[in-house]
């Protein structure tokens, strides 16, 4: 039953009650202006209080549904931001691979450290919990840390013989990881 129907019912009941009470008083020959105004006023007050209470309930319900709608929109917004972040990360990895292919190793190292930051960041995004396998995350994270260290030591002339082909393959595994995550967020909205 909606609010409008309820108000019509309350007003109808009050009118019927008013008519019954006034009829009874009239039959007892006691009806005068003061009694009429008193009875009418009392019944009108009861009707008014009931209608106000129902309106308060209705306002409360509207505010709760508005809050739910805002929360839902906010969640969608956060999700869409994270999807764009994931797309940007895939572009970042492609940029690193491009730096490696063109022998700009220092630049690739800087970008690999950015990638490491993104990897650390996604661990702390609560709605990404359960969206990826911990084993996959551990593997790409270990590989990235080892590769960063190896490139760093090669640039410092402490180690030689870094295999950049393997680094590109490891980065390809990171692309797969992020692409999978991006698709899960885009197409599995219910999860």
């Amino acid at each position: 039953m909606n609010l409008k129907t309820l108000i019509i019912w309350i007003v109808s009941i009050c009118i019927i009650a008013l008519v019954i009470i006034l009829t009874i008083i009239y039959k007892q020959n006691k009806l005068d202006l003061i009694i009429f105004v008193g009875v009418f006023g009392s019944i009108a007050s009861i009707a008014g209080i009931s209608i106000s209470y129902l309106q308060i309930l209705s306002v409360k319900e509207i505010s709760e549904s508005t809050k739910r709608a805002i929360d839902s929109s906010l969640n969608e917004m956060i999700k869409s931001f994270s999807i764009s972040d994931l797309s940007r990360t895939i572009k970042l990895i492609q940029e690193i691979q491009n730096f490696i292919r063109t022998d700009k190793i220092e630049s690739s190292l800087l970008r690999m450290n950015d990638l490491k930051s993104v990897l650390i960041q996604i661990r702390h995004v609560s709605f990404l919990d359960g969206k990826y396998l911990r084993e996959d995350y551990q593997k790409i994270s270990v590989d990235l840390n080892i590769d960063i260290s190896n490139i760093n030591l090669q640039l410092l002339n402490k180690k030689t013989g870094v295999n950049y082909h393997t680094i590109c393959m490891n980065l390809e595994n990171v692309v797969t990881f992020f692409t999978d995550l991006e698709n899960k967020l885009k197409y599995n909205r219910d999860e």
Binding site: Q138, S141, I146, S149, N150, K158, K159, G161, N163
Partner: protein
């Protein structure tokens, strides 16, 4: 190195020797790593300015490095790490299986 790390290295040598854990080569040809349920470890061997080095690194279950030990030739724990690295290399390159296969092919 503390007792726990020495124990970890000895366990890795044993399990590698028994082929119970599989190592993978990293972006350096002499460096190997293995991912375990609770973390990962790596070991590398290289020469810098004519001195031979070995290292052993431990990563936690989210891939962050939590410890790193590096020794040069003649250091106290160099022999233990060399034993690990040699065992890993032997298993990774399937040296025993290859020699056994060749012997089997030649002798019988």
């Amino acid at each position: 190195m503390n007792e726990k790390i020495i124990q970890l290295i000895n366990s890795l040598i044993l399990k590698t020797d028994q082929s119970q854990i599989g190592w993978q080569r990293t972006s350096r040809s002499n460096e190997f790593k293995v991912n375990l349920s609770n973390g990962a470890v790596s070991t590398d061997r290289w020469v810098d300015n004519g001195i031979e080095y070995l290292d052993f690194r431990v990563f936690n279950n989210v891939g962050e490095e939590i410890g790193s030990w590096q020794f040069k030739f003649n250091d106290a724990d160099f022999a233990l790490l060399l034993s690990l690295h040699s065992t890993v290399l032997r298993k990774y390159l399937k040296i025993d299986e290859t020699i056994d296969g060749m012997l089997g092919e030649l002798l019988f």
